[in-house]
Symmetry: C2
Subunit: 398 residues, 2 copies
Amino acid sequence: MTSSEDLVPDISAGVTTPAGFRAAGLAVGVKASGNPDLTLVVNDGPAEVAAGVFTTNQVKAAPVLWSQEVLKQRRLRAVVLNSGGANACTGPEGFQDSHATAEKVAAVLGVGAVEIGVCSTGLIGERLPMDKIIPGVDAVHAALARGAEASLAAATGVMTTDSKPKQAALTHADGWSVGGFAKGAGMCAPNMATMLSVMTTDAVVDADSLDKALRAAVDVTFNSLDVDGGTSTNDTLLLLSSGASGLSPDPAEFVAVLTAVARSLTRQLQRDAEGATKYVEVTVVGAIDDEQAKQTARVVAEDNLVKTALFGSDPNWGRIAMAVGRSGITMDQSRMDIAVNGVTVCRNGMRGDDRSLADLSGTDIDVHISLGMGAGRSTVYTTDLSHDYVEENSAYSS
Amino acid sequence: MTSSEDLVPDISAGVTTPAGFRAAGLAVGVKASGNPDLTLVVNDGPAEVAAGVFTTNQVKAAPVLWSQEVLKQRRLRAVVLNSGGANACTGPEGFQDSHATAEKVAAVLGVGAVEIGVCSTGLIGERLPMDKIIPGVDAVHAALARGAEASLAAATGVMTTDSKPKQAALTHADGWSVGGFAKGAGMCAPNMATMLSVMTTDAVVDADSLDKALRAAVDVTFNSLDVDGGTSTNDTLLLLSSGASGLSPDPAEFVAVLTAVARSLTRQLQRDAEGATKYVEVTVVGAIDDEQAKQTARVVAEDNLVKTALFGSDPNWGRIAMAVGRSGITMDQSRMDIAVNGVTVCRNGMRGDDRSLADLSGTDIDVHISLGMGAGRSTVYTTDLSHDYVEENSAYSS
């Protein structure tokens, strides 16, 4: 079986690499800046199987409520996404705006609105300029295409504070592909950075298998990225299968390829987290179970004292130990080892090798925590807490 | 009944305001800087009732393990506290150091070591310089005194990155008093800021009542301060009763006075949080119960996107709504109102009054969240997330 870690997706390719998909992204006037702000991805079939994961935030944006509802049929013909406005905390009128957007896309495609997913990202609490979006749908529909340029345009239309578009695709040796794009920088964080992603495949996969594969891939990729613990009102990931390759992959192979593409997108999100100067992998091993390992890794990844120390290139294991101790998991401090960039600075809960041996001057930092309690393990991807993070997030909406 | 909110403690008085207590603080060489680093508080009785609360962190410093053990007898004759070293993650040898410190204090006082509380604060993972601490106990014992100077010296000896000593005292009209000092800037946060506090009273209070009163006071004061979610390995609060006034207060009156002094200390901690430029009160009302209200207030208080917005004087209610939604409580977004400095910027989960009406240019910010679900309420005190926070916490140990 192929391991997802051994697969290297192509980041010059994206959402139209799988057969059966067209896409486009344009500036239609939602953003005052004139930057691209509307993306459309269309599944030309023959199949139209879909799966999705959504924010766990109880304050859900209108497009999330819409997309969750239509996804109950596990079929999507298209996804329309706008940047420049989150359409969150906009009440019943905001929901009508999402509905009207879906109806418009359905009309131009000649299908039903229940086959259209809707995503939005931007400032919370403002209504969308529907006088821009409705004619914008006509324009973006007219621009639909396949190929590298179309994939890139689709990835660009969803950008907010992202500094670059994020996409990836991978074609299995048997001939089927997975592609996709993403935007954001964490599960909300920083700034207004809703995480939106559309992934596509031309593999023949039934709805149950597609859903299962998506959840398996997301668990170790998007859901293991934690820049600052935020969870946006708008986070959405939709996976569409056209079945256009006519090929039915081995389920494990499909998960491996899907995970590889999702991991590439996740790493691109991590690298583009606003203000980040360090890219940090927190790995916890030896927990009672995987869930406790992930909980520990998350608390460490979100701890501001740990994050500021890493910004200062300081292997301050005392702060890491403090964060582990407050994570609420089953532990024994005398069994805990902490290694930073390969140097075991804490051994058996006490000072280990000299902290000056740990070189944190580069951009990549590996924090490895061994609890010695069981076989549970998990890795969480995060960043440091820098001056630029504070600057970009304090200056955003004012 | 007196409300604790109406009582104004005297911050030029402190731990020796109640009769029966002597204190001292000196520089004995634990800190390389030559600043004060050893404090001793002695209860001369006639009673020696004690209560305490400790960190919930599972990684506990040696002095915490020691003090938790001896406090089982609910009697303390003295508390010895050092700054300049946390004695955390130091293994069995570190525990022996705490034990030896207690034995030395017991010897000079002619009592048993089980009557001596021990507290430490400073960098994690380093052994204490016992060659400084043991003779230091003789010096600080020789300096024991009553009065304003002695109280201030005791409050000064525990300072780490604190910019000023923190103390308060209040004498009830009936003639009994409560006093105390504290150090730190949150429950760990920021920096190495362990929260240590010793409080004293000359009221006659039995052990059960003292413990109950302490927990009631702490819940709405120290445990409602949340600078960055940290929980130190060393957090300790010890309350000692000498009974020297001979007066037995009404239990509710005692809680009110104790709470007033604890609140004064808490506000001093909040005001001295490193890097803070804004002092924020997050109040949640209308939750299902008080516990859910506190959970919501904590998540909002710890949210980096909220904290950076407040640093930028930005009433960004969308981020507050996002934090409420991810707090895991029972809610309905259409019932949620959010007011910032008195302006209801979010009403029924949607945009309310114009955000430009909310003036956040001052140092004090009031965030008031109404959930409309029940009668639960809670207030949490926090600060913003500023450049200085990042600077001070990234530059500390390297």
